[in-house]
């Protein structure tokens, strides 16, 4: 059966036919995009006017997120900015520690078991005039129940006295950089870094579930995708044990599952040889809605955690250089084996020294295994300079930059972590495009909220939460930004022949919009109202998802 959808406007991202009014779909595939006259030639059809007053774009592609975003919503949202949950409820941002406490108190009152943990997430005390939260703040809610709040950065959490007690940490004499002490010699309740969090996590309900996702988490993640116009999303670092793969295969095969998930196996716990072998096997399990067979490597840490590896002159505040999470020998072996096996590798590098190591390592590996069109991708790659973008181009690499960082932490990067000059150059989207590097931009959800149109707004405006324009020269145009969140991201995932534009032969994946992103103005790009999506020809309205 052929269905022709008339629309107010179709922004195709197909340069040979950029705008259209109708799109014809059969069995989830686009037959054509153009005028009604052009499309009727395909034969017997019906006309569905459901999108007659909507604007259609190719389904948006999130190139770097984590399905764990779907899990977070089981905890109480304590972020500074308004955020939409999978059910469509908008949680207003909380603007002070008192408001955080008040919101948790409401959740506390709903729990019957006095020992059941209570957890919140997305706290960002940098917006609270730098007043740090303490265990005493949270003790006001309950001193019997363990309570914890994960910060937006995911690198810090705050807990109450009971949680510290259960973890064996409510004692004097602790000497750990991740556990600041108060004047009384006891921990203040702030817990920094993954090592320090581990003893506390199990007592407050923050287990490793934060990194993985279960079935409800995966389903909730897909619901969020619909609300944000996303039809394909990369789940960028999953250990993909067999039971998880089987669950994901089953859940994504559900006819009502609304998104395509691209899940990358993170390089951890097994040797490079086993890793590449496993990922080749995973690739054979791929279905239309669950794509497997790629590798993610974490090379360094984060900039705001001062664990990213920076080249000279290092951190602006003089902090020592960050940490390597992999040795060059291991990186080289994974690259070589992956190139030989035709497996794509995405490498997390935040600092420019980590980026340089990947560039050097891939340069050598490609000499050994020349591989046209390998599309190895640098993820985050926030501090790359022009010379590094030129090398990426020369090597055939892609980059997926992180402009959301400017909004959420740009003021801190300017003042504290990397200083004014590098803060203005961070996530240099314009330089990447000028040098012809295939580019995507991302949210790293749940670190920042899923929403490619918001990410596009960040790349177009480069505004910080404090209102500063951080690097006006690196702003990109609306049309570049829109191409980046569709075809650009699809290219880095090796899916550009299937998705990323509305054109003949591609999957019928659309973002269905109430407003026209090409007309609304770059400063309002993040405000475009989203009706829902079409994924593989199936229609999903945000309102009823």
């Amino acid at each position: 059966m052929i269905t022709i959808y008339p629309a107010r406007k179709i922004v195709t991202m197909n340069p040979s036919r950029p705008l259209a009014t109708h799109v014809a779909v059969r069995d989830g595939t686009i037959l054509g995009c153009g005028s009604l006259d052009e499309l009727t030639g395909w034969g017997k059809h019906r006309i569905d006017r459901i999108f007659a007053d909507k604007v259609l774009m190719p389904g948006l592609v999130e190139g770097h997120s984590h399905v764990a975003e779907g899990v977070q919503w089981r905890f109480v949202y304590c972020g500074y900015f308004d955020r939409t949950d999978p059910g469509g409820r908008v949680w207003p941002g909380v603007k002070s520690i008192d408001e955080v406490v008040a919101r948790l108190r409401v959740a506390n009152a709903k729990l019957y078991d006095s020992r059941q943990p209570l957890a919140g997430w997305s706290l960002d005390p940098i917006y609270f005039d730098n007043r740090r939260m303490t265990r005493q703040d949270l003790d006001q809610i309950s001193d019997a129940r363990p309570i914890a709040i994960m910060h937006a950065s995911m690198h810090i959490m705050n807990v109450n006295s009971r949680a510290l007690e259960l973890a064996g940490l409510l004692r004097k004499g602790i000497n750990h950089p991740g556990i600041p002490l108060g004047d009384d010699g006891l921990p203040t309740g702030e817990i920094k870094g993954p090592d320090a969090m581990t003893p506390v996590g199990p007592h407050v309900g923050f287990d490793r579930a934060l990194l993985a996702a279960d079935e409800p988490g995966l389903r909730d993640f897909a619901r969020l995708c619909v609300r944000k116009g996303v039809t394909s999303a990369a789940d960028l670092a999953n250990l993909l044990p067999q039971p998880a793969v089987e669950m994901m295969l089953r859940v994504t095969a559900d006819e009502q599952f609304p998104a395509r998930i691209v899940s990358l196996r993170v390089a951890r716990e097994i040797s490079p040889a086993e890793l590449v072998e496993r990922v080749v096997e995973l690739g054979k399990l791929s279905t239309d809605r669950l794509r497997l067979g790629m590798i993610k490597i974490v090379v360094d840490g984060s900039i705001q955690g001062f664990s990213a590896r920076l080249r000279a002159p290092g951190y602006y505040n003089g902090a020592p250089n960050g940490l390597w999470y992999i040795a060059p020998e291991q990186l080289r072996e994974i690259f070589e084996r992956a190139l030989a096996a035709g497996v794509r590798v995405h490498s997390h590098t935040n600092g420019d020294e980590a980026t340089e190591l990947v560039l050097d390592t891939l340069t050598a590996a490609l000499k050994k295994h020349p591989s046209p069109d390998h599309r190895f991708t640098l993820q985050h790659c926030q501090l790359a300079n022009a010379a590094q973008f030129r090398r990426m181009k020369a090597l055939g690499m892609c980059v997926n930059l992180f402009p959301n960082h400017h909004f959420y932490w740009g003021d801190q990067h300017y003042a504290l972590t990397v200083g004014p000059e590098r803060a203005e150059r961070m996530n240099a989207c314009a330089t990447a495009l000028a040098n012809g590097v295939p580019m995507a931009i991302h949210s790293d959800a749940p670190v920042t909220p899923l929403g490619p149109l918001f990410t596009a707004w960040c790349a177009v405006n480069r505004k910080t939460a404090g209102g500063r324009v951080l690097g006006a020269e690196e702003r990109i145009s609306v049309s570049d930004a829109l191409r980046t969140i569709t075809l650009g991201a699809a290219y880095t995932l090796g899916l550009d022949s299937e998705i990323g534009s509305i054109e003949v032969g591609k999957s019928a994946d659309f973002a269905v919009l109430e407003d026209d992103p090409t007309e609304i103005g770059g400063d309002k790009l993040g405000d475009v109202r989203i009706w829902g999506t079409v994924q593989g020809g199936r229609i999903f309205a945000a309102e009823t998802i």
Binding site: L169, I174, D195, T198, E269, L323, A327, P328
Partner: protein, 311 residues
């Protein structure tokens, strides 16, 4: 030490011989029930003939030892292993090749029932200088060496005597306080890595069990009748280069109580001794046979007879 599980970290860059050392120790555990945590992107790190059973990430090893691999979450593995406290005499942690021992030491401090014994860092005699100058990894490698209580300079059989001398000199210049033990195939005695069981024996030469040891080691025993200042003695033993690698013992303080001394390379710890300790104080010191300096140790013991202020 008290009822804490003693923990030894085995650090060092990729290829320095950490895994070889772990296997060597498991093979020569001599009744000591070792638990080993390994973290490497590697193939199965334990020699197949040592393994008696496997259960998930836990490997049982002949002689009552166990080995547990951990991925990214050392503390979770530690929390798992300490539940077997009754079955463990000593815990060894083999770190990843890019890990900084100091950050693992800090993590250990979060688990009050684990007590750091010492940090052993392996260095490959062939490559360590070059690694320490590496554009990317140099600072990581240098930080590993700087955190070592004892540096095991491994693979000395693979370099010429001139080269060995040069790299030894370089190590001393880089880490002037380092205690360096040469080895081949990571063949160093268990006593150096995890300490001795019983401190009462005549002076002994430690005979290598596997025949692979490069160096000879010697244990010196001292009886110390008069009261001492244990902090001063421990600091002196850890600071002076008397060829001493490990020391353990009890001395009587000026107030009559006993203190336990524990020295691993340049790390010195003093704790209250268990209540049952009596008789003369005693100290056993282990070092390289050709380097350990009895008179320097005696001088340190002598110097600690000066009471601290207040006595």
């Amino acid at each position: 030490m008290s009822d804490k599980i003693p923990v030894t970290l085995i650090g060092g860059y990729l290829g320095a011989g950490k895994t070889t050392l772990v296997n060597h120790l498991l093979r020569n555990a001599g009744g000591r029930r070792l638990a080993v945590l390994v973290n490497e992107f590697g193939e199965l790190p334990i020699d197949a003939d040592l393994i008696t059973a496997r259960d998930g990430n836990l490997i049982s090893i002949s002689g009552g030892c166990i080995c547990c691999s951990f991925g990214s979450d050392l503390l979770a593995a530690l929390m798992q292993i300490r539940e077997r406290r009754e079955a463990i005499d000593h815990l060894l942690i083999e770190t990843s090749g890019v890990a900084l021992p100091e950050s693992i030491v800090q993590s250990l401090s979060l688990l009050p029932d684990l007590g750091l014994d010492g940090v052993i860092v392996m260095a490959d005699a062939e490559t360590i200088e070059q690694r320490a100058r590496d554009r990317y990894m140099g600072d990581t490698v240098r930080a590993q060496l700087a955190h070592a209580d004892i540096i095991v300079l491994n693979k000395v059989d693979l370099v010429s005597p001139e080269r060995l001398e040069a790299v030894s000199r370089w190590l001393v210049e880089t880490e002037p306080r380092a205690r360096v033990v040469p080895s081949q195939n990571a063949g160093i005695p268990l006593e150096i890595v995890v300490g001795q069981h019983a401190p009462r024996q005549p002076d002994t030469r430690l005979t290598p069990r596997s025949g692979r040891h490069t160096a000879d080691y010697q244990a010196l025993h001292f009886e110390i009748d008069a009261p001492r200042d244990p902090e001063r003695l421990a600091a002196a033993l850890a600071a002076t280069d008397s060829g001493l690698l490990r020391a353990k013992g009890f001395v009587r303080r000026f107030d009559g109580t006993f203190a336990a001394l524990h020295i691993v390379g340049r790390r010195a710890q003093v704790e209250p001794a268990p209540g049952w300790i009596e008789g003369p104080g005693r100290l056993v010191c282990i070092g390289l046979a050709d380097r350990i300096d009895r008179s320097a140790i005696l001088a340190a013991i002598e110097a600690s007879s000066i009471a601290p202020a207040g006595y």
